[in-house]
């Protein structure tokens, strides 16, 4: 047994390590690949696996958003964007990739440093479990009568906030679709391009 873990905890820790390892491998592969189609496919796999990780962490609603948006919609949007550009990325000289690597490593180190101050997982005295959270947990069954508290907060207590977010997402989707030109326009453009080549 690894120090401090036993039984189900050990299993969950192993699953977390495994899924994060897979994410790491895919991330490195995405950074090194040049074929844009492969990158789009791998980013779909990336969000699918991170959605699984969210399920394993018991954040089911986040996981579902990640699966629907990351693996579903954004794959399609990236494919649409890819049709308008080249199919392969230009190779990057090694000297220019040093600074991004340093920035990523520094950010990661800062995040790891920040986790030291976080309360332990499931700590009853943590801020999330002491102030407003308990209030929502007590009131929701009488006031809203929805079994899932997160749903009650999102759709009822913060209903206007969610409505505004929906408007923002709708506008963003509209702008992206206008830019990429799904449908008739992109289709005829592709045909015309093929005719010109002949």
């Amino acid at each position: 047994m690894i120090a401090g873990y036993s039984g189900a905890d050990l299993a969950i820790a192993l699953i977390n390590v495994l899924l994060l390892g897979l994410l790491f491998v895919i991330g490195v592969a995405i950074a090194r690949m040049r074929s844009l189609f492969a990158i789009v496919m791998l980013s779909g796999i990336y969000s699918l696996i991170s959605a699984t990780w969210f399920v394993a962490l018991d954040a089911v609603d986040v996981a579902f958003t990640e699966a629907a948006v990351g693996a579903g919609i954004s794959t399609a949007l990236l494919l649409g964007a890819m049709l308008l550009t080249a199919r392969t990325a230009k190779p990057e000289p090694f000297a220019r990739s040093i600074v991004p690597i340093l920035v990523v490593i520094a950010t990661g180190a800062m995040l790891v440093y920040a986790t030291i101050d976080l309360p332990a997982f499931g700590d009853p005295d943590s801020p999330a479990n002491t102030y407003v959270g308990t209030d929502y947990l007590e009131r929701t069954p009488q006031e809203i009568a929805v079994p899932n508290i997160v749903t009650a907060v999102l759709a009822s207590y913060r209903g206007f906030d969610t409505l505004g977010e929906t408007g923002v997402v709708f506008t963003a989707a509209l702008a992206v679709i206008l830019l990429l030109g799904f449908g008739e326009r992109s289709l005829s453009a592709t045909f015309n391009r093929k005719k010109d080549k002949k």
Partner: protein
């Protein structure tokens, strides 16, 4: 028994991931993504069973649906170059490539 199931699913995920990383043609990668989605569904179902959360099966079924729809979307996109297939079907020029080797 559960250990064997876990190891089997993890090996399967690893194999499909290798195919997605190496896969020479477009369709290898599409198939790899699709079958990896199936493995993820199995994995979530397995996880729900082991951790005593049988309601995760619903999530797994929804993932299967998303996986199916997105695979269809990708393939349709590469057939018609568009999500909106015209109502009157124009003759789409056939790609002059060897089968299974789309030039992407």
């Amino acid at each position: 028994m559960t250990e064997i199931a876990a190891v089997a699913i993890i090996i399967a995920i690893g194999l499909t991931l290798i195919r997605a990383l190496m896969g020479p043609t477009l369709y290898d990668r599409v198939l790899a993504v699709n079958s990896l989605g199936t493995k993820i569904v199995l994995f979530i179902g397995f996880l729900g069973f082991v951790l005593g959360r049988p309601d995760w099966l619903d999530i797994a079924v929804l993932y299967a649906l998303i996986n199916f729809v997105s695979t269809i979307a990708i393939l349709k996109f590469f057939r018609y170059r568009s999500f909106q297939v015209p109502l009157h079907r124009r003759p789409v020029p056939k790609a002059p490539t060897v089968q299974g080797r789309d030039n992407v």
